[in-house]
Amino acid sequence: MTFTLRVNGKAYEVEAEPETPLLWVLRDNIGLTGTKFGCGIAQCGVCTVHLDGRPVRACATAAASAVGHEITTIEGLSDDNSHPVQRAWIEHSVPQCGYCQSGQIMSAAALLSRTASPTDSEIDSAMAGNLCRCGTFLRIRKAIHSAAEMAKSSGS
């Protein structure tokens, strides 16, 4: 079937079976490859995107269920690495292989949009669904605190 998805503020008409995971529509139909495939069963978080600002695992979200909702992917977070989470990720030198980081960043951005100054344990519970095989967790936690500070000081 054919349906329309709104991704990063743009409308895309896609042809796919309605149950196709949003992940594959984003990557293969639309060509937004910043969102990654990791497990296919919502266990690793590398496919995390925002649906109306909430973090969802795109590998376990039927594409057709996203019709009418605003989808944001890593490519839509900012034009110039200026989102506080991206700036903090650079400041703390978070990525190693980098493969999981799109998902980490989208989970972190969603956390900060609902909790301006999260505690360590709030960070841990919000980020527990995002695996990182390189083991960058400590820098992620520090970067989320920094991003919270940046967002506060810039008044956004």
Binding site: P21, T33, I41, D80, Q86, W89, G98, G135, F137
Partner: protein, 730 residues
């Protein structure tokens, strides 16, 4: 350290890295996705003047460094660029990195000498020839300027991109063309560490900016015109056979193009393997994967369907009673001393199979045409898929182009592990006549991975009158792949037969048992399993002789400077003590891996009901030298997570000849809420020897944690995953 925020366009361009063959990754701007998601066929970057294979200089002063290694998170792009910039003497802000052209390397005399990215060896063993490439370019620039200015080369100063002599001054690029033509009478030697201006300073990685916005290209992101997708299933029991499949049941499904049978290529004799299986090809990967799941397939599992963790444990039990190959023997009749001793310590340890599970599932894209073959593969050595595809398709290596991308983790598993999938993609592309991207599901990625071998060990020591061991005996059984000897047999009991402890009489034996499960290197091979074993047994020996574990290690490594340096620093920074209330514990361990010595002190707490929290791990690394303390610290932090993941939660469940836990719901890895604080220190000998950094941080953490658990609970955990043990106490 805090990195200055640099968000100007100019600065960002400087820190971009090439991917997909010479294409510089654009900083992400919405609306130009299409230009960025299609890696182009390889063309050597033409901007700038090439002084040698490693670098070009552009008119605006940009120095482009061609990195022949892969970037899988270990920091190769930055490390290689730093080493060359150090010698060339150019502003670090003028440096950009691209991946080098493997076709040129393979066909034109292997100018880069080594393209391998394993063994934590990029810096420790390859810095001489990498730095030399930068030094040679610098001296040739000076020689060209000297000729033009009529002065001696020694009177020309090359500093930060400028050549000066008396009143003469010029940018490097002015003499770049002339320098490329110069042959020096004698090549320069590389700088001694005391003259470094860039190396040794914490330097942010070049690849960070493209890894926070989705623009970094991985092999799995390859998109080509007319490309189709393949999902594959190989026999769940390795080396089993495909009996039949029924393509007719899925043929009419939307988007389905073909089914292709894959026949095993025996890795025992070749550089790669491919298991027996079948691929379904479709216009999208999800359609291919869904149809493959629905397609009836019958396998002949073969006799190895009977193999399990339990059957291997039984085999190991029998082998542990038999004399093995002697891997090291020191002093007098060890078995005689043990027989006569009235103070024996003995214990058996076990580590199971572990898998790599790098976050980027194994994949490859191959386009076969009459003129050329293009390859995208997450292989740790990019020359390898080029050669594998040429061999598999019987093509001249000059016609095969590998497009290097970022790799979403490798950890020793993307050597042979990624060439199997590359062979599959080549085979399928040839069959369907279109470019094909093969992606393994996570389940396939784990089941078909080349795994870390399991190990069973028995260690025995006789404690002498001074409380120190006077004789030590080890017998180790591990199961590596039949016929594959290259990562064994010495690795089987590495860290045990190479232990530093000065026991006067030692005998080490090993059995290299074979299994049908393909095995491979796995971050810190040998040390990763056996560090857990020898370093817990060190505590067992120390406590049997009534020694403090840290003092015992200092005593037993007397005179071994690199070890003493680590242990003394660990003593200074860790606050190690055995005097904590029950339920709390500290443990130490020290392991050598890839020529580096790393010590760890772990602090744990265990509730009465047995709930374990690893609070903190303090590490002290002696790698001789460090060129980038920032990246080195990151690597060590990550290594702790890597190795504790396996020790605490991992362990593959081998039953019926195959792995039953093959996704992250059942093969558990460490998550953020389980990650301990990590505190990294360096204690560098700086004495002429170099050790690795990417791997040695891992092995001491699990035994340090297990030793801490002992002090917290009185329970000795001699197998992993630790999560399977009852740690309750009263």
């Amino acid at each position: 350290m805090v990195t200055e925020m640099k968000l100007s366009r100019r600065t960002l361009i400087r820190t971009m890295v090439g991917a997909g063959g010479g294409m510089l990754l654009g900083f992400h701007i919405p609306g130009v996705f299409a230009a960025m998601v299609e890696p182009r066929p390889w063309t050597t970057p033409t901007d700038g003047i090439e002084i040698n294979a490693w670098l070009t200089i552009d008119v605006d002063g940009t120095v482009t460094i061609r990195v022949p290694h892969t970037e899988q998170g270990q920091g190769a792009l930055t490390s290689v660029s730093m080493m060359i910039a150090e010698e060339l003497d150019v502003p670090w802000s003028s440096v950009q990195a691209v991946f080098a052209d493997m076709n040129r390397h393979v066909n034109d005399g292997e100018e880069y000498i080594a393209t391998t990215t394993y063994g934590s060896q990029l810096v420790r063993t390859q810095h001489p020839h990498i730095m030399q490439a930068g030094a040679s370019a610098r001296e040739r620039l000076k020689a060209a300027a000297a000729q033009a200015w009529g002065v001696d080369r020694v009177d020309v100063v090359a500093r930060q991109g400028k050549l000066t002599a008396g009143d003469h001054i010029a940018d490097y690029v002015t003499f770049a063309t002339a320098a490329a033509e110069i042959t020096l009478a004698a090549e320069p030697t590389i700088k001694a560490p005391e003259h470094w201006w860039l190396l040794g300073k914490p330097t942010p990685r070049l690849d960070v900016p493209v890894k926070v916005n989705g623009s970094a290209q991985y092999s799995i992101d390859t998109r080509l015109d007319d490309m189709v997708y393949a999902a594959v299933k190989c026999c769940p029991v390795p080396w089993g056979r495909l009996r039949s499949y029924d393509f007719d049941t899925i043929r009419e499904r939307k988007g389905i193009i073909a089914a292709v049978e894959l026949k095993a290529v025996d890795g025992n004799t070749g550089v790669s393997d491919m298991q027996n299986g079948v691929a379904v090809v479709a216009d999208t990967w999800y359609r291919a994967k869904t149809a493959l799941d629905l397609m009836p397939i019958e396998w002949d599992f073969g006799p190895e369907v009977a193999v399990s963790n339990d059957s291997q444990a039984e085999e190991a039990r029998l082998l542990l009673e038999k004399t093995g190959d002697v891997s090291n023997e020191v002093g007098a009749d060890v078995l005689g001393i043990l027989d006569a001793s009235d103070h024996i310590v003995t214990a058996e340890y076990h580590r199971p199979y572990e898998t790599h599970a790098r976050m980027e599932p194994i994949n490859a894209t191959v386009r076969v045409t009459d003129e050329r073959v293009d390859v995208w593969s997450p292989a740790q050595d990019q020359a390898l898929p080029l050669r594998v595809v040429a061999e598999h398709l019987k093509r001249n290596t000059r016609e095969v182009y590998v497009h290097t991308t970022f790799i979403g983790g490798a950890f020793g598993g993307n050597g042979g592990g990624a060439t199997a999938v590359t062979r599959q993609a080549a085979e399928i592309s040839r069959h369907v006549g279109r470019p094909v991207k093969v992606i393994w599901t996570r389940e396939e990625d784990i089941m078909q991975d080349k795994q870390r071998p399991p190990v069973h060990a028995r260690l025995t020591a006789a404690i002498g009158g001074n409380g120190l061991p006077e004789a030590f005996f080890s017998r180790v059984v591990w199961f590596s792949h039949r016929g594959v000897e290259r990562h064994g047999p010495a690795t089987a009991d590495q860290s045990i037969h190479t232990m530093p402890y000065l026991v006067p009489n030692r005998r080490h034996e090993r059995h290299n048992a074979v299994a049908h499960i393909p095995t491979a290197t796995h971050r810190a091979p040998g040390a990763n399993q056996n560090g857990f074993i020898i370093e817990q047994f060190a505590d067992e020996m120390a406590l049997a002789g009534d020694w403090d574990p840290l003092e015992w290690r200092l005593e037993m490594t007397k005179g071994l400077e690199p070890w003493q340096r680590v242990l003394l620093k660990l003593k200074e920074v860790s606050g190690f003590t055995t005097e904590l209330p029950k339920g709390e514990g500290m443990g130490i361990a020290i392991v050598e891996d890839h020529a580096s010595i790393c010590g760890a002190c772990a602090t744990v707490s265990v509730t009465r009901r047995g709930r374990l929290t690893v609070e903190k791990v303090v590490l002290v690394m002696n790698s001789g030298y460090v060129i980038n303390p920032l990246n080195s610290t990151e690597q060590i932090e990550g290594s702790v997570c890597w190795e504790l993941s396996h020790a605490l939660y991992g362990g593959l469940d081998l039953r019926k000849g195959r792995f039953m836990n093959n996704n992250f719901d059942t093969y558990k890895l460490m998550r953020m809420n389980q990650m301990p604080d990590v505190d990294v220190h360096f204690a560098l000998s700086q004495d002429g020897w170099w050790g690795g950094i990417g791997e040695p941080g891992g092995p001491p953490s699990p035994p340090a944690v297990a030793n801490a658990i002992y002090f917290a609970t009185g329970k000795r955990v001699r197998s992993t995953p630790i999560a399977n043990h009852d740690l309750s106490w009263s």
